[in-house]
Symmetry: C2
Subunit: 128 residues, 2 copies
């Protein structure tokens, strides 16, 4: 059980690094996606192709965009990734939580929530 | 280990229901919060009091506001709650992910990410 959770975390870390920060969404899809990909991000349709196109579109507009993962939490079939999206260096960026559901070591479903980091804050802890 | 994860989920479910949907944040704080509460929501300071005031302020402006939890994921010291916040009945509302860190069965740290549910969506799966 814990082996599976650790394996799922590794899969999501690698998926995220390869698809987003290395800009290789096709490779990430081929390696880590299941036979289907149910998408809950309201900006993208189901399946791998809208995801690939979204990464390419963002990279075209923001060639230096980065997502730095801050914490990763695995429970049951889910892996939760809490990360900091910065489209342009120096921007405050956005806080993002991605939730992935895995089946047999493959990613098959995705939800996310995105919020711009505001300024100022009522505490000194950052959003991360 | 799994007993602890299940206990942590129960604590977060009860905290959330009591503080938010039953509008009893003081009771929730007394029962479920640790000796400190480190806050990462940029709208609130550390400690229980800003949280209590925030719930009261929202309830004053939106007496029917509800947060319906959609899934709960526990891993390590963390519990992740994915929920649908509706301030006024009939609104599309917001998707929220709350992340809690627990120590010895008490909530001691909190992060969240909030995004309004947009219309239309590129898929038929909802944000949940």
């Amino acid at each position: 059980m814990n082996d599976q959770l650790e394996a799922n975390k590794r899969i999501v870390r690698e998926w995220h690094d390869l698809a987003i920060n290395q800009r290789k969404p096709e490779e990430a899809v081929a390696k880590y996606l299941g036979t289907y990909y149910r998408q809950h991000n309201p900006g993208a349709g189901d399946g791998p192709e809208p995801f690939i196109q979204a990464v390419k579109r963002i990279a075209q507009h923001f060639p230096d965009f980065r997502m730095e993962s801050k914490r990763i939490i695995a429970g049951g079939d889910y892996v939760v990734l809490h990360s900091h999206l910065v489209l342009k260096p120096g921007d405050r960026g956005s806080a993002v939580v991605d939730i992935f559901r895995l089946e047999n070591g493959k990613i098959v479903e995705h939800w996310d929530v995105v919020q711009e980091v505001p300024e100022p804050s009522a505490n000194n802890n950052t959003m991360f």
